[in-house]
């Protein structure tokens, strides 16, 4: 079975996989650099919240009020770079406050002479606001959460436990926010995939990452594909680390939004274990703590690390390409070669070139983690067979 991996077609395919993985890594770093510079994650999250929390019936965008509320406003220092992270707990507290205290509903509440039903003023104001504001998607959702919370808070005698009621409302809003964030995360993933595809095509065209050409090259140069496989094997851990720093478990690095949930848990865990060291925690807590801590430390990925990543991976890939003579680099650019009259312009060649580049772009759109996972599986299969 060991010979199976020595079959030229199989090792060529593995080489192509490595090439795609490395190119995807390079593009991901490039993309990440741009995203960090533009502060795009925070803006994407804000834009999506603005879209979802727009209340046309009442003329208010609740997301706008949440973002301008002191507790959230202090999380960012610039309008163009809003915070990419709002915990579910913080979001819930702020949303309840802005709904309870907004002038539009206060002015309507003034007309309502009904006496307060609850001891907590904020709960009272919040529920009254839901009653007096016009029906909209968001008001409807919150009213439904309140009704469900009310049912859950009735004790055996059928009397409402106010503290539990408020807690249930908060927990209901938190759950709703988390599911909204999950959806936002999916939208962000799909957007990133599209952009990685375009970026992969563009970069592929400029530096000639033509999958078809690479395939035929590796097929005809067994020493190159062996070197590439050796390179991957000797740098596997290091590359995996780089991939981890870009993304934990997803196709693309939509970590900020996804990690909201993780951070909340981390905060709760930290709070619960205050004063204890990790050894004193339960085994389960300790493992979770370590996991969350790892994820949060990965969040500290910065523009600097993105730029360093681009530079490091570019230098390494360049030296490998130079050494093995792989036809990748600006000097192999199709149009440059035509201009320098090194090759003749042929429509069929051009179409094949574009097809090859599109394939590379498509590969990039899957993201580096996908290809490194695939490689890991392939190599574990190899070791199993051997």
């Amino acid at each position: 079975m060991t010979n199976f991996f020595n079959i030229p077609l199989v090792s060529t395919a593995i080489s192509i996989l490595i090439a795609w993985a490395l190119f995807s890594l390079f593009c991901s770093y490039f993309h990440e650099g741009i995203v960090q510079m533009k502060g795009e994650r925070g803006r994407f999250m804000r834009d999506q919240l603005f879209l979802q929390l727009k209340d046309k019936a009442n003329g208010i965008n609740w997301a706008s009020l949440v973002y301008t509320h002191g507790s959230i406003d202090t999380l960012s220092n610039d309008a163009s770079n809003p915070t990419p992270f709002i915990s579910a707990e913080q979001f819930t507290r702020t949303l309840i406050q802005v709904i309870a205290n907004n002038h539009a509903s206060c002015s309507l509440k003034n007309q309502d002479q009904n006496s307060s039903s609850y001891k907590s003023p904020i709960l009272n104001q919040f529920l009254k606001s839901l009653q007096v504001l016009k029906t909209s998607d968001i008001i409807l959702t919150l009213s439904q959460i309140s009704r469900e919370a009310e049912i859950k808070s009735l004790n055996d005698k059928g009397v409402l436990d106010e503290a539990k009621f408020f807690q249930e409302i908060q927990s209901g809003i938190q759950t709703w926010y988390q599911s909204l964030m999950l959806q936002v995360s999916n939208w962000y993933k799909s957007k990133t995939q599209q952009r990685l595809f375009i970026l992969g095509c563009l970069l592929g065209l400029v530096i000639n990452v033509d999958s078809l050409q690479l395939f035929s090259y590796f097929q005809n140069h067994p020493e190159s594909r062996n070197s590439l496989i050796q390179y991957y094997q000797s740098h596997q851990l290091e590359l995996q680390k780089q991939v981890d720093s870009l993304s934990q478990d997803s196709l693309v690095k939509a970590r900020t939004i996804e990690n909201c949930h993780c951070r909340d848990k981390f905060m709760i865990l930290t709070k619960a274990n205050q004063g204890k060291d990790t050894l004193a925690m339960s085994q389960k807590d300790s493992t979770m703590y370590a996991g969350y801590h790892k994820q949060i430390s990965l969040d500290t990925f910065s523009i600097h690390s993105a730029l360093t990543g681009v530079k490091t991976s570019a230098v390494k890939m360049d030296s490998l390409i130079q050494k093995e003579g792989v036809p990748i680099g600006i000097q192999y650019n199709y149009f440059l070669q035509v201009k320098k009259k090194m090759i003749k312009l042929k429509i069929t060649d051009l179409l094949l070139k574009l097809l090859g580049v599109l394939l590379s772009g498509l590969a990039v759109s899957f993201g580096a983690p996908f290809w490194f996972d695939a490689l890991k599986k392939a190599f574990s299969l190899k070791s199993y067979f051997s």
Binding site: K54, G59, S64, D73, A79, N102, C106, S107, N110, Q111
Partner: protein, 424 residues
Amino acid sequence: MIYYNVHTHILTMGNIPKRFLNQYLPGPLADALDKLTNTKLGAYIFGIILSLYGGSWGKQYASFLKIGKSKSQMDVFENLMEQYDEDICFIALTENLEFLGGGSSPSGFEGQIEEILEVKRRYPERLLVFLGIDPRWKENGPELRDTIVRYFETKISLNNGKEIYPFAGLNIRPSTGFFPFDIRLKESFEWASENKVPIMSHCYFMGGIFNNDESYLRTALNPINPYTNEPSPFRKYFFKRDYLKWFLGHNNSFINRMNCSYFIEPEAYRDLLGYFQKGKKNPLKICLAHFGGAEQILISHGYEKGRKLDNPPFGILPENWYQQIKDLLSGGIKGLFTDISFSLFETAIFPYLKDNLNNPDFGDKILFGDDYYLTEPSWKKKSTYKNFREVFSAKNNAESKTLWEKIASENPKNFLKSKYYLPE
């Protein structure tokens, strides 16, 4: 002594319609500008380019971009306070631009109000808020009035437990597509007159925000005037197709801007003002801001500066707007005011302004305002204000008060005094 800057804006890009720029620029350019200026670096580079090479429009737009892209109204207001001395109180105008034809704003109009009230809670002494109203905001006149009354009557709580009225006046912007004599505003104006609530309106020839929807304008130019029983003079939509602009998606904004002059020309206020002079009604306190505009002031005094169409200006009454406002002011109409906002940087008007302030008929009707932040590059703002204050603070032997005290304190106090705001 407290001085008042009666005309400022602290709204951000989040408070204006998403497609606001598309109203005035070719679509692709407006979209590109919006995207480019989303980042701090992009906005900075673009601001510098506009300031250096964009002429007066570019400078204004650069300033608009720099400040308008701020995080919140709180940031804009704090920036505004930095430009001025601590004895200045600011009137910030909220703007209902939801019916401009550029779609709805990201924050929503009521959202804009909530934001500014947060600023009011933090700076109750330095900020007076004027509620922006539009006849299209509510279904009908009574509903509009009831909403206004509710907004005015509901007090806001400060951190110290004190409760205050949130609003001190109303703001209308007829150039967005309605006449000041709109029937749906009548009940609200009657309430304002009863309670002596001041109203800010805008009267700058060919300036400011306007409605750029040709089909809307064609239908909105000839409404019924509820203050007279006579038919209103016919207003013809001025039209000239510029195919290049049309092709670029610019939609002939110059033409629409001209047609919007019908809404804000001083003559459009005459019947409304006259109505509140009759009987036992309190006169309506209304400020025709900008005094017609700096260009109109200069043209009126023989300056050649200005566009070809400026003289005579477009409108039902082809007369200089500055002159028209002066005529209304000196015609004994009570409650009428004007301000000099947007013209502070034009030092050539200072001598005429001094003459007007010394005029016994209407010297007490002119107010100080600067139209922050829609005027000129923000880094010049402080020097413009300082210069104005210095020039107008010179002692006049005949009067015990300086012209600065008159324009920035005495006159505004008369304008602002109402049930909802009592100046010290």
